[in-house]
């Protein structure tokens, strides 16, 4: 489904990703773990199409198509979804209006008729249960005044409605208390299916207790330094990232 080859990315002239290779198949859950500043979120942003990041080398193939040539909205319509680490507040646009516009954009892209308000509400009613999101939040402006947990649940709710082929969850666990984490992870688990791939980006192992990834990759200084099964996550949890010192390259000096 997703194939990343030698992906190198810079932001404001600074190299962040230094050659990522990753293959994700339908039905799989991959976890990408790594210390702060390792490039985890950059990877998520680049895959979603954030133009603030410059791809200097490499390729990304999504369902056999060149992902890097697509506009961010086309990527979403093709079935890619990124849950934002910091969901953006949009005053003046209600959550429902926003989501209906998004879903109908996607349907239009695939040549399907747009949903009317009633059909849309049916979908919303069904999906909103998944993450126990309060109905009142649907009528409010997108993420405006939402608590941290509500914002993250709103992301997973959007994922449920938009029904992506590939979901990238960028630190969806950060800032959540245990109960919120359980709800969010529960929602993600229900969205797991043989046709969908999920990439979970996280600093901590704790969300992986709920999600049980098929593969775990350690990202450090812009490279995947180790890959393995879910055991790898437990090792990181037990020993910290320092344990990987011998496989992590020393910090390169920046040339002036």
């Amino acid at each position: 489904m997703l194939e990343i080859k030698n992906l190198q990315v810079s932001v404001e002239g600074k190299k962040i990703l230094k050659g990522i290779d990753l293959k994700v198949n339908a039905g799989e859950v991959h976890a990408i773990m790594g210390p702060n500043g390792s490039g985890k979120s950059t990877l998520a942003q680049v895959l979603a199409g954030n133009e603030a990041f410059e791809v200097t080398e490499g390729e990304v193939w999504f369902e056999g198509k060149n992902l890097l040539e697509m506009e961010p909205d086309v990527r979403a319509c093709e079935g890619l979804f990124m849950a934002f680490q910091y969901p953006v507040e949009i005053p003046g646009v209600t959550n429902t209006y926003f989501l209906k516009a998004a879903l109908n954009s996607k349907r239009k892209y695939h040549g399907l008729p747009e949903l009317d308000a009633i059909d849309f509400l049916d979908i919303v009613r069904e999906k909103v249960k998944l993450v126990e999101l309060d109905d009142s939040l649907l009528k409010r402006s997108v993420n405006e005044g939402f608590s941290g947990g509500e914002k993250k649940r709103n992301e997973i709710f959007q994922m449920a409605v938009l029904d992506p082929k590939l979901a990238i969850l960028d630190e969806t666990d950060s800032g959540l208390d245990v109960d919120a984490l359980r709800i969010v992870a529960g929602g993600v688990n229900q969205l797991r299916n043989p046709n969908r791939a999920i990439v979970v980006i996280t600093h901590y192992q704790r969300i992986l207790n709920y999600l049980e990834p098929d593969f775990v990759h350690i990202l450090a200084q812009g490279k995947i330094v180790k890959s393995g099964g879910s055991d790898l996550a437990h090792e990181v949890e037990a020993k910290g990232y320092d344990w990987l010192k011998d496989v992590i390259p020393a910090e390169e000096t920046v040339e002036v």
Partner: protein, 446 residues
């Protein structure tokens, strides 16, 4: 003195002509007011950019053109180029074309007992005494030169009387059309609105004209809101792209009244709106909202003055501008809190959204506070569409154009939502959702 001699001659001869036309039809007191106003106009002169209040708005294009008063209502000149400023509206409606009352287009039956919506010209013929206490009695032509010009030359407009305690179920719509005539036409609409104590009403004042004509609308609206009245007043300006639109609105508010003014500017090539609200009693709530959309090379200038004359009044002012292409806007919002006006609570916000790198706004919030126990705040922000929000919308599948439109709409929505006339909200939704055609072009005929 900035009126060139030939221009002065033009206005003097136009005035002499007007005197002949209205001779014997108007009361002496009005003739005196007209003469005073003309003298005031000559003394003040056309504004120059050296005057503080006109530093950022150049009136030269207006000064350099000669406009003529239309002699008849000219409703036969209303064509498909002039579409109604709002459709689907259920309202009492008084219509003026090129400044003259047009009964054929007006719908005035069914007004509640005692409520009257009439042509000022007609009232001046039939019952001038009823206008005398209100017409030009608020000192409106002393300082604002265009109000003086209006007062000297006004011919017609709406005289709205809402009796004490009356509750109007439908809005009152004062509708001004301008048309394309052989020579550029000027009209000086004059509205007098008197709301009795405890009355409740919604007033819609709207302006429309063709895009392909140069004309000048110079309006004055005087409002007296009685004690405990509750009035919403929406001014919807959809003049043609080449039109000059100058307006002076003066609100005189009494104790415990609630007044909300919504100034919506969609059209006009050169626009200056002057709005003065005088809170002349205790316990008044006054809202001044504004929304202006400026594209092309258009220029929109809003000057507001909120005068807190008495204690315990609350005022809220939010003006929002959306500027595109080489649009220019000016906002000056003055809040004046008199010495006696203790416990004033006043909040002013001015926000501009710049959709192009060439658009410009000049914002000047001003607080003048002479009382010592007050709460006054003001804030001004100018910015472009938020890149993060754009990316967020796009990451959910919404294309760039739609995302920009959605965010632009969201910016304006807070103002639109507060307008208490559904048809106006629907019209604005429509306009905002096709941002690139702010002021309408040739569509429906009336």
């Amino acid at each position: 003195m900035t009126i060139a001699l030939h221009i002065k001659d033009h206005y003097r001869s136009a005035f002499a002509e007007l005197e002949t036309t209205v001779a014997g039809q108007e009361p002496a007191w009005l003739h005196e007011i007209r003469k005073e106003a003309l003298a005031r106009f000559e003394a003040l002169g056309f504004p120059s950019h050296r005057e503080e209040a006109w530093r950022f708005t150049n009136t030269a294009p207006l000064r350099e053109k000669t406009f003529h008063l239309a002699e008849a209502d000219g409703r036969d000149t209303l064509g498909p180029a002039v579409r109604p400023p709002v459709t689907g509206l259920d309202a009492y409606q008084i219509v003026f074309v090129n400044g003259h009352f047009t009964p054929e287009l007006s719908i005035l039956n069914g007004l509640p007992q005692g409520a009257r919506v009439e042509s000022i010209a007609a009232v001046l013929r039939s019952d001038p005494g009823s206008l005398e206490p209100y017409l030009a009695r608020q000192g409106s032509y002393e300082d604002f030169v265009f109000a003086a010009l209006n007062t000297a030359f006004m011919r017609d407009g709406a005289f709205v009387r809402i009796p004490a305690g009356a509750v109007l179920e439908k809005p009152i719509h004062l509708l001004y059309y301008s048309t394309r005539l052989e020579t550029p036409v000027v009209s000086h609409p004059r509205n007098v609105i008197v709301a009795g104590s405890g009355s409740r009403a919604v007033i819609l004042e709207s302006y429309a004209g063709p895009d392909n004509a140069v004309y000048f609308t110079n309006g004055v609206t005087e409002v007296s809101a009685g004690e405990e009245s509750d009035i919403a007043h929406c001014k919807l300006q959809r003049e043609g792209h080449e039109a000059f639109h100058v307006s002076f609105s003066r609100l005189d508010l009494s104790r415990s009244s609630r007044y909300a003014h919504h100034s919506i500017t969609l059209g006009g090539g050169l626009v200056r709106n002057e709005l003065n609200a005088l809170m002349n009693g205790e316990g008044i709530h006054c809202t001044l909202n504004g929304l202006y959309l400026v594209d092309g090379k258009r220029h929109v200038d809003n000057h507001t003055l909120m005068v807190h004359a008495k204690p315990h009044c609350e005022s809220h002012e939010v003006y929002k501008g959306i500027l595109d292409e080489q649009g220019r806007a000016v906002f000056r919002g003055r809040i004046l809190v008199a010495k006696d006006a203790q416990k004033t609570d006043s909040k002013q916000t001015n926000q501009a959204l710049l959709l192009s790198g060439e658009a410009e706004i000049t914002a000047m919030p001003q607080l003048e506070i002479y009382a010592d126990d007050v709460k006054c705040t003001h804030g001004a922000t100018t910015g472009k569409l938020d890149d993060e929000a754009l990316f967020y919308l796009r990451a959910r599948g919404i294309n760039l154009e739609d995302a920009r439109e959605l965010l632009t709409y969201a910016f304006a929505s807070g103002i639109v939502e507060q307008i208490p006339v559904e048809a106006v909200r629907a019209e604005l939704d429509h306009v905002l959702h096709k941002r690139l055609s702010f002021s309408h072009s040739n569509e429906v005929s009336v």
